[in-house]
Symmetry: C2
Amino acid sequence: MPQLRIALAQVNATVGDLEGNASLIASWTERAHEAGAHLVVFPEMVLTGYPVEDLALRESFASASRAALGELAVRLEAAGHGSVAAVVSYLDRDEVGPRDAVAVLYEGRIAATQFKHHLPNYGVFDERRLFMPGRTLDIVRLHGLEVGMVICEDIWQDGGPITALGAAGVDLVVSPNASPYERKKDDVREPLVARRAAEVRAPLVYVNMVGGQDDLVFDGDSMVVSPSGSVLTRLPQFVEHLTVLDLDLPADAATESGEFEGFSVRRVTLSDAPLPPYPAVETPAPVQPLSECEEIWRALTLGLCDYVRKNGFSSVVLGLSGGIDSAVCAALAVDALGASNVHGVSLPSVYSSSHSKDDAADLASRTGLHYQVQAIADMVAVFVSQLGLTGLAEENVQARCRGVTLMGLSNQHGHLVLATGNKTELAVGYSTIYGDAVGGFAPIKDVPKTLVWELARWRNAVAAERGETPPIPENSISKPPSAELRPGQVDTDSLPDYELLDAVLDDYIEGDRGYEDLIAAGFTPELIDKVLRMVDRAEYKRRQYPPGTKITFKAFGRDRRLPMTNGWREGK
Amino acid sequence: MPQLRIALAQVNATVGDLEGNASLIASWTERAHEAGAHLVVFPEMVLTGYPVEDLALRESFASASRAALGELAVRLEAAGHGSVAAVVSYLDRDEVGPRDAVAVLYEGRIAATQFKHHLPNYGVFDERRLFMPGRTLDIVRLHGLEVGMVICEDIWQDGGPITALGAAGVDLVVSPNASPYERKKDDVREPLVARRAAEVRAPLVYVNMVGGQDDLVFDGDSMVVSPSGSVLTRLPQFVEHLTVLDLDLPADAATESGEFEGFSVRRVTLSDAPLPPYPAVETPAPVQPLSECEEIWRALTLGLCDYVRKNGFSSVVLGLSGGIDSAVCAALAVDALGASNVHGVSLPSVYSSSHSKDDAADLASRTGLHYQVQAIADMVAVFVSQLGLTGLAEENVQARCRGVTLMGLSNQHGHLVLATGNKTELAVGYSTIYGDAVGGFAPIKDVPKTLVWELARWRNAVAAERGETPPIPENSISKPPSAELRPGQVDTDSLPDYELLDAVLDDYIEGDRGYEDLIAAGFTPELIDKVLRMVDRAEYKRRQYPPGTKITFKAFGRDRRLPMTNGWREGK
């Protein structure tokens, strides 16, 4: 059977940086060429980064993307890599409108182009706002083999391009993707890709983006699956990676152009003659899946690292309360950026317990981050006495003096501030707006409190296994959580037990379940009323919260869009 | 010709408040009945409020909406108003998915229902995320007249329901709308409605929502237009209003059911016999359009008033700097809520000029709002000396001490904080995050600086005409704007002249124009580079800014969705 050597280029593109992304593609095409590949496949919209959001609508950006694609074709040829067919996805625009597009660059020219057909418009996706759907398919003939293309959502939806390629006939399908990470999504991807490979009766090369972009992180997890459902290779998650493999393909596909299942199929010949037989490289074995905690930890560190790096920062500052949330954020930041780029500040008030200060100092010495103490008593005293603040107003002013302190250090020293709130807190509004909520990025924004503890234990266990110092003080994990804004305060004064709270929130937020369903799930009416009221009333705080990496099925932000002014209350 | 008395009920519904909205509908139906109307038309999604955003996806909410509709039909009949056909739009859900729906309630039952076909998915709208499109049309026969329905976007898009109703044959079309206000939109609506009336060869009754909902305000501007294009009546903007008019209708429409232009048309008879002739009421003359400044001022006061009121607040607090932005916000708040519900705070620092304090006090005495002075010097001094802040960090800490002070007063006294930034400032990031940007609502968020001045002059002139004290001190209007965060600072140290800046921003933000177009518009490369760089880099600040009323074609927020991490820079 004819052979083909295929490279999967799982790269980390930056939104909007056409020049940087073009260089990235050129350098990985060079690597693919050096490895003897005949075909290299990049992720969806690798040239523009993904998601470009409303940049897709700006004509100047679409034309720059088109121009950059043409220049890239010439550049690859000039560098001697024009014989590698490069599958490069980009933003196009024609008389109909903007397009999520893919091209095959070959011998210095744009040999083929195709537009995404299925445009996701749910969850974090707004693609029907941004793109017009495609109705044509380009199948390229490369060394005598028929290679079809499908972009991302086109493999997630039934019917459409996959069905049409199956009807038209192909020897191989390649698929550029930008599929954001969420928990357990990799469990869904493999059977999906296998099903599509079977449907089209050809191996499917699935290449996903890697890297962080605002609230999203792309995990890679690229793979090649045979039509019989075997995973031939699978790339590691959360890192840039090039995998090269040789496929023996039957070359028995039909070669007709025309209409198939409502799509207009065009055949484009790049090279007709099959390759003479050559010794195959050994296909790298599929990378084994990560444990759930490791996968989440890697998602969070990459999301954080890329937000910091791609926005031109090199260091971060965060408040260390001695509690679990700030400890986990600090450990993530140290893993993401190195201890020398992390600045922790203990911000004790008159209500801070001695263990708070001790635990914060312990965390600093365990991780090696920069540490300082800035007592807030003097600042708080001026506000409280001048304005006559009492009760909640006095509690909040403490959190806000911490916020002003961190922002002051940020402005003075150029560190990005991290907000340390978790998803549970954000859900019920158990945070002070402009206080502990200040920050450019919120690393655990989408991590429920119970999972914060689980991650802390996991991260410490990993350190212990490696013979390293566990980063997170045991006391930060085991003590009862407290905001310490008044004497003796603990979270359970205001909130249900976290196990129970997270269970309700999971059903209400991620499951979008109503009152009757929550009762049926066994929660009491009192608990439901209390929790849902807190969630509904805190929408205004969430609107002003910093971005943070999505890891769940439904994150706050663009994933869950609810009105602030909202008279609806679930109830009997 | 047979007659029909039609009531247009331009009401202010609240998102999510099914019970409150049902009572509103019942009470306005009663008013319509008392006025002798045979048909009353309410705005789009009046039963749920609009936009419900992702509440549309929640099954419990959709079923509550359906149940509330059924109960409303029974309630209207029980109250003796069942003989008035009530056109009530609501959220429905069937086996296909959620629907933006309209029903005719008559004699205690839901006599007809229809789903919106064209789903807007641009600008502030996400309806393809939320709803499934309808393909059936119900035409009701009321007193021998054929009445068709079209929901909002179905009159904005060519083809679809209007064309189908024209082909099927109707005597009258009614259209429930929730069309958000923006500048000059009323100039577009009238010719559009006239064109659709001509297309369907029947009078068109257009009823739009009124009231504020988060970033949006609905202006009403309901009207009835004859097929020849005459505006028979037009309602006032920005107020709830009931208009009743009698139409003589030819009753010559076809009455067949079946397929028309791809829509399945069903005829539903409510009452077959034409009404005996009766004396017509005088049709109220069309309300004359407001001046542009008055229209914007009314939009801003209603948007502010409804955000405050519908979120359970009764009073607001804001910082008064003596400058134009805070003066205009205060004047808006006084017009929206009454002076007794507005609390102004002068927050002088060591750099504040005497005119700042004088102008703030002058504003307070002109408007009668509550006024206090809270010097921030003591607070600022603690942060600056303890943290060793200099330069920009020292400037920002002043703004943040003001923010903490306002939030402290808010927490202590229950006032909602208003952020006083304008659109120009927000565009270029000329504001301090967690400083002057704090607030629950930002009344002039979408008002460019040059328009802020224009509105101030207009508002003062109106007061003078009425023999009232102009609310805004002349000095606040005429002096050069300054943030006063360092000695002698004026805005033009950092920013281009505001006339020029607003011209560039209008092209870049609202026009979404690229570099070449901006050059062609006559701006210099240096100006373009400087302004665009500021705009692009400030996206992260905008994401954390409070909501404010949209008045322009493209407001920041859901109307303009751009990545924060963004390497794209317009240029040669």
